[in-house]
């Protein structure tokens, strides 16, 4: 079997390339420059950290790849780390440099071996004595700033091995062959541009942050995309402030503050979810997000044997389910009435929506006439 194409594992772990948010990329680029020059004991090169937050992605990626060499690896017999396939890396620019940044230092070998011997007998479970290739490094090792070097040494050991464990893991091959066109590969899926539509919840903390550059450099005239859960303010406070500000200054025209989380329930689902209505700008986006969120229940409902969530079963099929009027989306408005979603303009909808419910189509009969009447009365 050819190694799965998506296995950009080596070094990917710490290089954050799988996490799409540019702020993380910033961090990596800074660490990249730090790797070249950092002196952990000295304080001289503080400025090795670039203050400029916006780094070229290519540079970041290049440095990411170099970190491959610093991976601590679990020794497994007979596996070699496959080469990274550049085209599928998220932010690859083709400039692939897989050589480690720093040459091997003789000292680190000593460190490596000594630390491997350093099974601290006092520890109940010295991690290093149970696992090859990982070392419970003593603090003394670290003070000399050799930690990174030490880690590099692991890559030279014959134990260096793909973490993919491709031979062993059948799951991945399954993914490749059956990944539906709709859903992206995990790497691709996290492209910032796509994220908003595809999986607003899945990339929780990161999907929006590509707009929130540091220094508030977002040149986008549009309202700043918000990072989930940041700033760290509790929902109760957010909602209280939202109500207050709405009372005070409604004429502003500026976007409403903060998130607007409403509960979403689905007939037959064991637990509720919450969505932030402000992350969507039209009904289609909301609908797609909900389909994704509740797909597992629907799959269960239609009796598929697939384990829920295993494969995000073809979304087209799911959409058909939902659009085939088996379920309808309803909401409770400020007056406590249950209405069909979609009748009123989006802004009006999020203004009045208190909670959502995915009802069986049969239960929703009778909602439509009321919705029309209400909006007529409003206008």
């Amino acid at each position: 079997m050819s190694p799965p194409l998506l296995s950009a594992e080596e070094g990917e772990q710490s290089n954050v390339s799988l996490v799409p948010s540019s702020p993380n990329m910033d961090c990596i680029s800074q660490s990249g420059s730090g790797l070249k020059e950092r002196n952990y004991m000295g304080l001289s090169d503080c400025s090795s950290v670039d203050s400029s937050p916006v780094s070229s992605l290519s540079e970041g990626k290049k440095n990411n790849l170099n970190l491959k060499a610093t991976e601590l690896r679990l020794g497994l017999p007979g596996s070699q780390s496959p080469d990274r396939i550049p085209e599928l890396c998220l932010l690859n620019t083709g400039k692939l440099d897989e050589k480690p940044l720093f040459p091997l230092l003789p000292s680190k070998e000593g460190i490596c071996s000594s630390s491997q011997k350093n099974v601290v007998s006092g520890n109940k479970r010295g991690f290093s004595d149970t696992v090859d290739g990982f070392s419970e490094v003593k603090s003394s090792v670290y003070t000399a700033g050799n930690w990174m070097y030490h880690a590099v040494s692991d890559s030279e050991s014959p134990q260096s091995v793909g973490q993919g464990k491709f031979p062993g893991s059948s799951g991945m091959n399954v993914v490749l062959s059956s990944r539906p066109s709709g859903a992206q590969s995990p790497i691709m899926k996290e492209l910032p541009t796509k994220v908003m539509q595809e999986c607003p919840r899945a990339t929780n903390g990161t999907s929006h942050s590509n707009n929130t550059d540091t220094n508030g450099n977002s040149s986008a005239p549009a309202p700043k995309a918000q990072v989930v859960g940041w700033p760290p303010i509790r929902s109760f406070r957010k909602n209280s402030l939202a109500t207050t500000s709405k009372n005070n200054d409604e004429v502003d025209g500026k976007p409403g503050p903060g998130a607007l989380f409403v509960k979403v329930s689905m007939d037959g689902a064991p637990y509720l979810r919450k969505v932030d209505l402000r992350t969507y700008s039209k009904y289609q986006e909301l609908s797609t997000a909900l389909e994704k969120m509740f797909s597992c229940f629907t799959i269960g409902q239609c009796g598929s044997q697939g384990t829920p969530g295993r494969e995000m079963l073809s979304e087209s099929k799911l959409r058909d389910l939902l659009h085939g009027s088996e379920y309808v989306l309803t909401y409770e408005d400020k007056d406590g009435d249950w209405m069909l979603v979609g009748d009123v303009p989006w802004e009006m909808f999020i203004d009045s929506c208190k909670r959502l419910k995915i009802m069986k189509g049969s239960d929703a009969i009778g909602l439509a006439p009321r919705a029309m009447e209400k909006s007529r009365n409003r206008n």
Partner: protein, 585 residues
Amino acid sequence: MQRMAGSSFPEEVLEHVFSFIQDGKDRNVISMVCKSWYEIERWSRRRVFVGNCYAISPRMLIRRFPEVRSVELKGKPHFADFNLVPEGWGGYVGPWIAAMAVAYPWLEEIRLKRMVVTDEGLELISKSFKNFKVLVLSTCEGFSTEGLAAIAANCRNLRELDLRESDVEDQSGHWLSHFPDNYTSLVSLNISCLGSEVSFSALERLVGRCPNLRTLRLNRAVPLDRLANLLRRAPQLVELGTGVYASELRPDVFSNLSGAFSGCKELRGLSGFWDVVPGYLPAVYPICSRLTSLNLSYATIQSPDLIKLVSQCQNLQRLWVLDYIEDAGLDVLAASCKDLQELRVFPSDPYEAEPNVSLSEQGLVSVSAGCPKLESVLYFCRQMSNAALRTIARNRPNMTRFRLCIIEPRTPDYVTLQPLDAGFGAIVEHCKDLQRLSLSGLLTDRVFEYIGTFAKKLEMLSVAFAGESDLGLHHILSGCENLRKLEIRDCPFGDKALLANAAKLETMRSLWMSSCSVSYGACKLLGQKLPRLNVEVIDERGHPNSRPESCPVEKLYIYRTVAGPRFDMPNFVWTMDEDSELRLS
């Protein structure tokens, strides 16, 4: 063998001695002296605190401590407050209530934080514990006013009902009427989180017939003109949370209110103040000098009004306020309130890039200079400098809780454009008793080096958008000896530091990492090698097996436990353990 003197003490004497020791940690120590002390201690333990409801099972708790009267449980991780923990994750109190209903018929107190409580659970509580006295539901959810009605109706000895910041489904305001007419033992009532109206007449009658009522926190729906009546019925109140503090300005309403406040000679704490109309603020002036606690964090009033109020509260120990107070107001605070111990400044408009108020790092520096007892700070602002942090640190080496939130992630020192490493470094270096720290702004690995080196008493650390490499995380895990809770989001920390410090995780209550770079493979390894940890992978993209092993997981929650993996997880949470290779779903 000579008999030890201790073993010749009759049990009753030891038990009596132990009864003077209430602190859980102390009692834990006592229980390890010898077997007989263990036995005596466990039979006489009345109060238990379980910081993570999944660290132990109800059965285990009951088996060891059979005579408990008071239980405190915490459920979801702290970051659930900011919507980082998906709904359905867990934290169900149901199994606990069911077990305790059988085992602890004399249970008096239940305190829950971030747990899911149902109406059935509340009803079971109300019917199972004849002497039930205290129910505190802090940031809980899953129940409605129906459950509250059951509590009101059945708990004849209830003293305290506190729903602080819980998410309650409001079905009707009539639950309050379920308190029987002959029920008079209420001491503390906090319904500030309820959205809908409660029946005012029922509330007034309740307040009027409970002579021991000390704390009353109303919800927003209680109008201002009702407040005076309530106060007159409960002049013994010590803590009051107003309802909406707005009404048409009318002199009769004002003087009525002012008189009612003046009549409350014991009043020491005020909160509420939703939608404040400044004209009504002077009604509280007569009692300001007695106040020790003031929560104005929902009061959208401007700096001048805030200054007028705060400058009269010379005995203030705790102030929560919005950033409308501005630097000028904080200067006044620093000059007037020399007993101040805790300050929290919340953002009025956190989602705007441009500041809407004139609040900067200066305000905090002023307060740190002027208030010698200041030890607990939560401060939201938009700019900070290393120099300011250094000054704060030098001014207040007695700081124990320091949480700074610079609203824009990765904001550098606005003067030098450098990272804020040195500033936070100064904080941990000077404030040797620092227990809790939250970081923000532009931070490299260096700040973690400082933290690992100096923050030896640190118990809880919150990190966001900081660091550059695994070295940062390594510094924390290897240096902070007393670390119990670590929560991290959006940092470039991966497998290396975690795996190298795996043993450390067993000494902590919990570790949360979201939007970091910890791979599925590393999670599996941790779960397999450390059976006393639950390594939970939270990922809404489907089972991690469907992605490469090196693919980072979305969220990771690791906690130590003696109860083994849990079985109440939703389909987007997986526990890594020895069987995780076999279990595919």
